[in-house]
């Protein structure tokens, strides 16, 4: 299956899971709580959605499992270099959009209010 089309925008769930794992290695439930906290509850990942996405990311080689469950301990996921690259591409794409919006005066310049 390999890496996906790099130019396609990521789904919000994918983006937020990547962001969460970029900060630290986490197990699934911690990812869910982190995303929920960061988006102030706007994005709540159900267990199906969350593991479906992680499952695909494992398949695509974006994340790795660092600790296998021993005696019911949970799996911890870590971002791979490939995953970091996907995240960077997406963030650059978003950044380009934001810069364009600023240049077109659609967004206030952060500097002007500082």
């Amino acid at each position: 299956m390999g890496s996906s089309d790099a130019r396609a925008p990521l789904t919000p769930a994918t983006l937020h899971i990547l962001l969460s794992l970029a900060q630290a290695d986490r197990h699934g439930y911690a990812v869910r709580q982190d995303v929920e906290a960061r988006t102030s509850g706007d994005l709540r990942l159900g267990p199906g959605t969350l593991y479906e996405a992680l499952h695909r990311m494992l398949g695509a080689g974006w994340v790795d499992v660092v600790a296998e469950p021993v005696e019911r301990r949970r799996k911890v996921y870590r971002l791979t270099p490939a995953g970091q690259a996907e995240l960077a591409t997406e963030l650059e794409r978003l950044d380009a959009i934001v810069q364009f919006a600023r240049a077109s005066k659609l967004l206030p310049d952060p500097g002007s209010h500082a």
């Binding site: 299956m1 267990p47 199906g48 949970r74």
Partner: protein
Amino acid sequence: MSDWYLTALLRLFPRKFRRQHGEEIRHDVAAERGQRPTRLARAALWFEITIDLLRSARRVRAPYRHQLLTHPRTATSGGVETMASVLQDLRHAVRALLRTPVTSLVIVLTLALGIGMNTSIFSVVNAVLLRPFEYREPDRLVHIGANYASDGVFDSNHAGGIYRRIQASSDTLVEVAAVRNIQQNLSGVPTPLQAQVGWVSDNIFSMLGVSAIRGRLFSANDPPGLAVLSHRLWQTTFTADPEAIGQVVALDGVPYTIIGVLPAEFRLRVWSSPRRIDIWKLPDNVWANGDVWDATGLSFSLLKVFGRLHDDATIEQARDEMGAIADQVREEYSEYREAGFDMSVVPLLETVVGNVRPTLLLLMGAVGFVLLIACANIVGLMLVRAQGRQREMLLRLALGSPRSRIVRLLLSEALVLTLVGGAIGATLAVATTDLLASFRPDGLPRLDAVTMDLRVLGFALAATLVCTLVFGLAPATTIGRTGLVTRLAGNRSTPRLGRLRDALVVVQIALSVVLLIGAGLLTASLMRLRSVDPGFQTTQLLTFSISLPGARYEWPAGTGRFHRQLEERIETLPGVTSAGVIWPLPLTDIWSGQYVAGDVTEEDRAPSQYRLATPGFFATVGIPIRSGRGLESTDAAQVAIISRALAERSWPSQNPLGRHVRADPWGRGLTEFEVIGVANDVRYRRLREAPMETIYFDSRNWSWVDWEVDFVVSSQVEPLALVDPIRELLSDMDAEIPMAEVQTMAAYVDARLAPNRYALALVGLFASVAGLLAMLGLYGVVSHGVGERTREIGIRMALGSDRGHIARLILTRGARLSFVGLTLGLAGSLGLTRLLTGFLFGVAPTDPTTFITISVALLAVSLTASYLPARRAVRLDVITVLRTE
């Protein structure tokens, strides 16, 4: 819920996914559930999780996996498109339905009614029959009943000595507990009251797995003299005071220290009719009439015994063991041998709800019929709609729309209708469940536990979905396979459709006839039961009970004197004709025993009802003394009055006066009583049972302490107006004795009929709704027929047909349908009403009067339903009709 449900959902995922992430998902769900404290929040969580897992399972299984980390590029990719088009279908359906708002509304309301009533009844069935008890491991609890075959008494109570023996020698039962419900006067509180006391073995609460919300409950080796409060009593009498623990109260003058309070939801469910216990105490010897907890005498069979099966034991093993114990008991005690003593072991739930199961299943069946009729009705309406839209459908087909797409459209419409109807129905059910429970018929246990739960909602949902399939697919079948072009071009109506609608109406009428006849039979039974002469007067009578404390009254002299005095003083009140004492009240089957007299020899001892009475009783309730005399205050202790039935059986065509009857009211062996009078027969056990042989003893010689006796007061004024004056008299004599169970005799007798009335009220309601729906269906079909034949009618009239002929034409059609429906319904009733036999009294399941009455009524109503459209037809204006058509 929960584990198996989650497992089922996870099965939707491919195995590989399940292996990798199943544990994680389970873990997360468990963690999440821990954060939802309320039941509602947990239900919401399950809903979210279900949707979430269903969606992601579908995506995981979809072939275009890689797409899903990123946004889909085009709208054509499978799954997403399907979702979108389902939404589109639904939007379409809503729009189509709004085009025929009246039909849609009628369908939704019919459905709401059908589903609402079904859900409501199911919630009762669920609470009473299906839901396990709220005790620890409820399916291991068993009732150990005592059978006294010779007295015709089964699954009854044990004497204390037998209970102790079971407890000491059973290996199959881990715990054996016993309870006796008695009434005692509670004082040492602001207002003394007659309390329902649960007299229980110390292991009862631990066996059931109940714990106190305040203080503690009984434990092994607790001394007597302790009491536990029900939540209700604690809330009311003790105003929820935490300081109540440690307080001392008195029950019939004996002090008890309060040690704890039970949870609000706790009920001891061992009786088949619910009892509310106010206060609980341990076995003690304060009952001066004898030691209930140790006596072995048959007449001390007062304890309800139940236990918990050992983990390794089966109920059959327990049965064998109890059988062996019963053998020993029969061996040792002759009175047990003569009584035909044996023991039964039955799951506790079964003893509590077993006898209401038929009623509830009857109701469930009846209400199921209503849903069927509602469905038939709606299918009829949907067919009419489909007919009106046949051109639209045919056009779609002609333009190349696949048939499956049209079926989907029709299903979507059905889904929208049923979901709305189902939602309204479920809401109705929630509202009416409280109403159903508020009838509180005496015979229905566990009604306080009627609530909506997931099983009930699941039932409503399942009913809804089944309806959807029926309504959705029925019109789809009418999309013909042939003659697309000819049908597009011409004729609107298809004969096949008309026949289908006719068949539906016939089915509706047939089903409703069955229900109406069932309701008719129940009504006739209730009327017969009401008009049964119980053998005593029920009007202008007041009854109440009092109980004298053994601590202050000596029995039998002290209590007898008190009763006599109260009786005399009540008789001096203005408006009172006479007063008397009886125990137990008529229509309470709690005290029976054998007798030997005349032709009834020692070998064939017969069962009889025992009653304690005062001289004033017979005149007060109007039981005539046929020969001899009534009781008199100067009588010796060993006299008795016997009922006519007993006299006729023992001394046929002989004078029983002065002879002796041997009876055993106190479990001390048969004692001789001289017959001084013969009284008319009274239905002492049940209204529906022929009078049983009865022996009256003089209560003066036997009046117990710590036990209630019932007073009956005959009055010339409104009986309840006597309550206050009597209460004053009583408190004048002893301020600590409350007047309990105050009611008129009429209300008391009426309450015995409550279960019959309850069943009848509901079946009657269902039958009326069914009949109404069937008539609406008939009206709809006939009236639609008129609409379709407007042109034909116009032409006939133009050609000189007279209006009477036209009207007959239309009426005939309606009459034919209802006649066929009626015939089928009568045939069905002949087969089905047999199931009602157990509910009927004095009416055969094939009672011709009921069958004929219902038939005539149905035909009359159905002619009216066809008359309305017929009238419209004859009023048609020929010119207008011919011009517009």
